[in-house]
Symmetry: C3
Subunit: 275 residues, 3 copies
């Protein structure tokens, strides 16, 4: 599929989000809740941060998708994650996992493995996290920062995707998205995204939004289109308002809110590797 076609598809997927205003349940972490909620609102979705074991199973019934993030992990939240995921699976709703910092501690890795075994629709992380999640990491991760080039993680991502039947997305200078067989690449983004906390968590939650609003797309495409839209908004923000991470965050949300058809269709840089 040519890049130009992908650009039109990214726009169509975004237009569907804006038209449908999907309600997405997020079990986010304490750091990322504010930006994740604002990202979803700017994109045209309705975020609901609901994490408690007392209500997650009931809430997923009225939501279009679920996003699970292990950033600030603790046992009560893990119990909420388990029940929400079980509810999503039973209801046939897509769910997305962000394995923040997996590999950094034994507890985090154990919980992550348990959640991965529940079969996420999409897993998104940086290269270190995907390497750790795939059991392919040869070095300890450094928390949430990526210390491995994303290209190194492609074989790990394919392994992981095949093993758990998920789409795996690896964020980096070039994002890689694979279902274990096909590989899409997204060349949008800006380095300032890494200077603002919770941008990774936010794009993961946004993948859940795109899945909810675009059930006719394959998760491989839905994830790639989300990353392209998100990265393109960063580029547009930086180009129109050069500055540091503080003002960038504001202009980035403005761009997510405002991006129009021509910009998206022409600016989204999605390509597919030959099989």
């Amino acid at each position: 599929m040519a890049a130009a076609t992908h650009g039109a598809n990214v726009w169509a997927a975004l237009a569907s989000v804006r038209a449908k205003n999907p309600l997405v349940q997020c079990i986010a972490n304490y750091v990322s809740m504010d930006l994740a909620a604002n990202t979803l609102l700017a994109a045209g979705a309705s975020p609901a941060m609901v994490h408690s074991a007392e209500e997650v199973e009931e809430f997923i019934q009225i939501a279009g998708a679920l996003s699970v993030n292990i950033g600030t992990l603790s046992p009560p939240w893990v119990e909420g994650m388990r029940r929400a995921i079980a509810g999503a699976k039973e209801a046939g709703k897509p769910w997305v996992l962000d394995p923040v910092g997996v590999g950094a501690t034994t507890y985090r890795t154990k919980i992550c493995q348990e959640l991965i075994a529940m079969g996420p629709t999409v897993i998104r992380g940086n290269a270190s996290e995907i390497l750790a999640a795939a059991g392919a990491a040869t070095e300890a991760t450094r928390g949430v920062d990526s210390s491995a080039a994303s290209t190194d993680a492609l074989s790990a991502a394919k392994q992981l995707a095949t093993a758990c039947g998920s789409v795996v997305a690896v964020s980096g200078a070039i994002d890689l998205i694979t279902d274990g067989r096909r590989v899409l690449r997204v060349a949008n983004g800006d380095p300032l995204l890494q200077k603002v906390t919770a941008t990774g968590c936010s794009v993961t939650a946004l993948i859940a939004v795109f899945l909810a609003a675009n059930p006719e797309l394959q998760p491989l495409e839905a994830a790639a289109y989300t990353l392209a839209y998100f990265g393109l908004a960063a580029q547009v923000a930086v180009e129109a308002h050069p500055g540091g991470p503080g003002t960038f965050r504001a202009h980035f949300l403005d761009a997510l809110y405002a991006l129009g058809e021509e910009t998206v269709t022409q600016g989204a840089l999605v390509s597919e590797d030959p099989l």
Copy 2:
């Protein structure tokens, strides 16, 4: 009372907040803490986010009012809410309830009913939440977003106000505030407020501030004046700096901080329905 008089009263109430710098205890939710705290600081108050059952009753003794928000509910926080409210009532301090997402799950509705039965000074929500809180909802709420026009909620708000002896404020294009008998309307605001997470939670906490700083006002007026000031700041921000939700949030806080007497007196749009 004419709108012009209300404008002067909104200014007087705000001036009192800025002069007295009231300390207000907030049991906020994880998503809204940042914006709620910054809203209170910009308005001239001192926010204290204190939620733990171990200290809430003692803390309310030194605070001027209490704000309770059920956004990211869990059992330990509910216990903190119960004790803080009991402490506020015993000490004769006003307290405000934001029934975020009530009606979305059984747990949330049950807790909300329990807290409402404790007699909040003011309850503020969107139309869906007030309908659900009043037991008048005929459809499930969609989390924190409003899916019913606020005017539909007036009779529910009056019922709820009468039943629990509270003032009930319904946010919408036109805010409605009632004590069960009198009805005030506030026509300030901007649609961008709904594209920034936690603005509803923040205005609820700000009502607690206005109550603490203006004990001579009736809660009906204090709530309406808060909504007028908050909405007017949004209008001023949008007019001076048109843009998207990211930059709006920053300019909105600037406006809360800077609004002067003439702007408030002339811009606050408060009116009262004939009895």
Copy 3:
């Protein structure tokens, strides 16, 4: 040591942070996580918000320093704090304590005393907090706001520093930093910092960053240089972009990110009292 020399040292310490990109573990509070993480990223460090008793001891092994903040205290977090501090001490890593609101409630004071007894490398608070922490407070604190001039707190700070073998930093119009014997003063800063929530928490976490990246410095100097850099960024932001607290927050992060050698060397206002 002359102020000019201190200016060069502040720059050298900041340059070391940017070069080494230290990973710092933060047990922050719910309100401050977003700004604290963004402050650390803007300064050139890697923040990791990890609080759970299940993993804090393991995580500190890969981190360069630990920051502990008691803002939104509850028993499970206190257990995480205890274990993280024990791990930091055993591993010889520096750790910093922010005694937010100590003195406001019995619970908060008790926990704070316990943590102080564990011997923080640096304690940073406002004058009220340091007075309370030193057991010298004659009035109840008002939560997180300072109601005593920082100069009043100098003798309390010296007492506290001597008693617990820590460096004590008192934020105010002029920051005071003491090890019980020497006293450094920092004259950087802007009043708008007090109109943005979590700036105090953020500078405390940033002290941990400077300690991690500058092991050759004494903690007295590392703390003072952090406060000078942080306050100078506020000045630069206000001078270039006068406004209110909303836009200030964004420009402040931009300034932390961008401050260059000449600005820091000439603008850092650090002086030492004669012994």
